[in-house]
Assembly symmetry: D2
């Protein structure tokens, strides 16, 4: 039978999580013992750096990042960066070593006495397995949660004496089963919702799109460009964006909204429908009071994050996958290239430029 | 301008939440002062009963239940029932009175000193508004969260001196805006996911359906019956179900699964694909070890609850609306009534029986 | 070697905790199996009643109460009463059964998924032992914390499969060692503090005593009567007292303070020093603004509860045992019986009065 | 009337807390506006450094440290160092800016949405005042808690728009009252406890002292040296001590105990009574099983920390001030210098040795 260590490594392999970012101490050594050749350990010397590297790695690789910290203090040092990863909606599994189980009730040195409370509220779930045999299934569950939209960090505390424990046949089978699981979360809006969305856009006198980070994070860039071009609507970047959600040189791009209530509303003056895709409504920062919207305007938020939908101070919301929704919406508007006309001209111009020899991913200016 | 009380009542009216279940004390009197004629107050004399009534009311009415409790002790008495409402996925807004703000820092009698910690982990969100003007927007946010799948209870603590505060014009407008919001959560799986699901069912040698509470809660009864009839698969009820998710007299119904690992797997012996709809995998109760599935069998869970998907010990999962998914899956299989053949015969037989004179809502046996 | 069950029973025997108040379900049966003859189980049919009985039992017996609840819902139902026990400062160990460890990570039915979060903030400590061998030491630690001033409830979650586990020799020895521990908390103020306290009382133009629940709870009744009689100060009962902290028929007793800022200060008008013993400063209830003290008056709080000292809105505080402090203060004032004079006369009068035919419960003569 | 800012500064002045360690962002600017001349701001560029400096400052100055961090991420970055401050029992008030109240319910940028959960479990108390007028009283309460043994960090979240609010006359008076409070915590054991302690030491065949960090932190160095010299007992340093609790060159000093169960017990072999003063029992680190004590030995822990007393795996405990207790115990043993005899000889020898030319820092002669 396998040891807990072997079962853990197999769970991670099954998820493609073979790069570990960490700053280990003695409580993490059992996890690193017999460290396998197909894994890579990236060392950082302060935990903020460790988690920052993991955050970027997740972004660049498209995988769920794996972090290994040193019991309570290591987790503590990382908390600012984990909060950041949560704001970034980065899929990330943070692990931390823990004293041997036999010395936890007396809180021996290096114990992490309230291990599941410490990383709150920066993580979506925090867990300490109740037995060594539960370590691999707990990590499998953690990965699933990290990869649930809105993605984000989760935490698992790992008593250091668990790794050498041997699994029974049933426990071994349970760990394999957990490792093999696959959960799908990509969902589009109901047909009725889609129809209503399209009708509201089509019926508006002067609609506008506002696009944010999650357009990029959810792979909706192309679909959102298509939606913008099919509808011909002007496009703003949401305030204080961390990612580029729309080509800055696109002729329909209007710039960045400012992060303050009154001034932002002035920027949107004249519009009667604001369609926000993949951004909070709105990431205000200095407090400059005012109306949330121009007089008489409506707002619709498309988001993958139900909590973001709930806390918006104004407007309706649809919680669904952004790429599926934007693509399906775009399909309900006529293709300007097929139809001809000014919008088509602008679009063709853009397309010609992006097909140039330099191979960059974003369109050049008209 | 309106008072906080008037703004709160308007938020509740906008949601159709005009029935209040409660067991008030002095801290709740300001909420009840000038209680309007279009509201109804249902009194219970112990909080478990109050929340139980509200839970049933939400189920029967299809609305979000509103509960009003007496500061810390009232919330404490209700915690078992609120946990139950969470397990039932009941949309419910639980409010509790709080001492006047001026006496909270000294923890005067009837203070609820850690009001947002107390209802954890039975609620999805717990909040105490930072100003009187935030009470109405906080309640609006609470309702949105309660109505996010998986539905469940949320908690808002209400300092008793907030209700008489008068709103400025901007605050009044903010409260109206919050009251008018509408969030849509009904989403179906991506086309690729749907195709794969259908292929796995069609390609199985011997698939089986297992249906649970959320089939009923999400209004997927008809779609699931259609899926069962189009595919001709046998149907089991998930263990320890709280609702009826499939007609018990339907010819394809096979009975209830038992809530224990080994015996449940024996009941499913011979199947190579288990499709679970709207139930945890599985609600085991006594611990009888064994394999989670028959040898060689696969499992697919369809659920609206991403956390339920993450913690299943075995099988794949798709997180999406159950009615949309089941209906779209059913549409990918030929209609036995149209096509003729044995499945059609079974279905027609069932239909004839349910059209009999006794008027019951479920089909009779063939 | 002993089983966990036997070790647990021995920990409880060592503390005199052989009466169990409970409302069990299946998860509690392993604790009750082979229930020994020297233990008594008192059944209640709702958890608020169970904890209420235990609270009264602790008060009447002078021991730490032991409660046994049914996993999450049972603990939830009890939360109001546990909050009450905390307000009462009742030493109480609350236990709740938990699913078998093997089914916790999947959250099988009857799991208490966040068992240590659920009873917060009503308990001083909540714990789920990391191994079966830690159950008995964890309960020993829990008892020590419950009996630390300010006394209060603590919580231990008990996985049901732990009870039949057998201890190794070292674990058995550890459990016996834990059971045998004894912690002493009775402490008096430093000599300098005592001297300053006495000087402030002696130097006041018109001091007054205010006495509260913890005078009774800490066995300081006699010492406080002595202090009152030696100093001849008038005595008020703190607002909304739950216990009788001073003989109501004593000639120095002036009545109960009212629980509101302004009116209470009026009752104390004319005094320049308020000495509060064993009560919060103050248990206000309706909010009637005003000064916390008469103009120019000082306040000194004697309390065993450092958090109560910290949150008082006015006055100085000394955190120490009440009986030791009051007795030592009394010893610094001349005995009126020995010295003769008006105070002695009052005291003798009191003694005669309390021996009168009306049979009221007042202290015996000095 | 004063503003909240002025009231806050006066609370801090009243406590001698005029040095602020911080790494501010925009949410902290209102606290720093009009920064007064009698305050000093010590800037650090990463929060771990900020809190580390404050920790050392508290140690060196004997005051309560004041820290000012930047909303959620700043607090997150500091969590490792705050955990360390808690382990060090450093009195420390950690503050963090918060968004303006009007934008908290929508969670605008720089909001710290669960501000009181974030610093847990590293702090003894976390609070966000319910109104601007409560900021100064909340800080006063926070200081009192930080200075309650066992000392430690506390946290107050400060909405940035609170500082310019003006206080009413009653609020102003309340803030002054809160600033003027003084709480005393120095307590000695009851006479009976003291007598029993002395009898156990005198009656032991071969007792030994083990001294730890809190001897130094509580100013008990001289009293513990006196106790050691009066009793003539050998003295060990507790494992992994952070402070020097006994002169290393003293003839009775035996060295440091090792941080592992079995080996530590071997070091204490032959003793029948272990008296631990101001240290956990024990700070074990690698897990090397064994008996907690030599066969037949007893242990008594003297500590100011009731939770440390509760979680010790072995032995009795007395919770009281260390200097008072050690001094009172020493007084119960004859002065070897006065009495002559072997103990006196040893002590004189010590005095001669400490006066040698090597200039080490050891106590002066009695």
């Amino acid at each position: 039978m396998r040891t807990v260590r072997e079962a853990v490594l197999d769970v991670l392999r099954a998820r493609g999580m073979t790069t570990v970012f960490g700053n280990p101490g003695s409580t993490e050594l059992p996890m690193l013992k017999q460290f396998p050749e197909d894994f890579r350990y990236v060392l950082g010397l302060q935990e903020a750096v460790v988690v920052g590297m993991a955050d970027g790695f997740a972004l660049a690789s498209g995988t769920t990042a794996l972090v290994n910290l040193h019991t309570g203090p290591g987790t503590g040092n990382a908390m600012g960066a984990i909060l950041n990863a949560r704001a970034n909606r980065t899929p990330m599994v943070v692990t931390a070593g823990q004293q041997v189980r036999a010395m936890l009730t007396m809180e021996a040195l290096l114990s992490n006495p309230q291990s599941t409370l410490l990383p709150q509220p920066a993580v979506k779930w925090a867990y300490e397995p109740p037995r060594p045999a539960d370590v691999a299934p707990a990590l499998a569950r953690a990965v699933q949660l990290a990869e649930t939209p809105p993605h984000g960090p989760v935490f698992v505390s790992l008593p250091m004496d668990d790794f050498d424990a041997e699994l029974t046949e049933a426990e071994d089978r349970g760990a394999r089963t957990a490792a093999a699981r696959r959960v799908t979360h990509v969902t589009g809006p109901a047909p009725d919702t889609l129809r209503e969305l399209a009708d509201r856009i089509a019926g508006a006198r002067s609609a506008v799109l506002v696009v944010g980070d999650d357009v990029d994070a959810s792979g909706a860039w192309g679909a959102v460009v298509a939606l913008a071009e099919r509808t011909g609507l002007p496009v703003w970047a949401a305030p204080v964006s961390a990612r580029v959600a729309f080509p800055r040189t696109h002729p329909q791009f209007r710039g960045e909204l400012v992060p303050a209530i009154g001034p932002l509303t002035q920027q949107l003056a004249g519009h009667d429908l604001v369609v926000v895709i993949g951004a909070p409504v709105f990431r205000y920062y200095p407090y400059i009071p005012g109306s949330y919207l121009p007089d008489g305007a409506d707002l619709i938020l498309l988001t993958r994050d139900a909590e973001e939908a709930a806390r918006a101070p104004v407007g309706d919301a649809v919680v669904a996958d952004l790429a599926l929704t934007a693509r399906a919406l775009a399909d309900r508007f006529p293709d300007p290239l097929a139809a001809g006309g000014p919008a088509a001209a602008r679009s063709e111009e853009r397309v010609r430029v992006t097909e140039g020899p330099e191979g960059v991913l974003t369109p050049s200016p008209p």
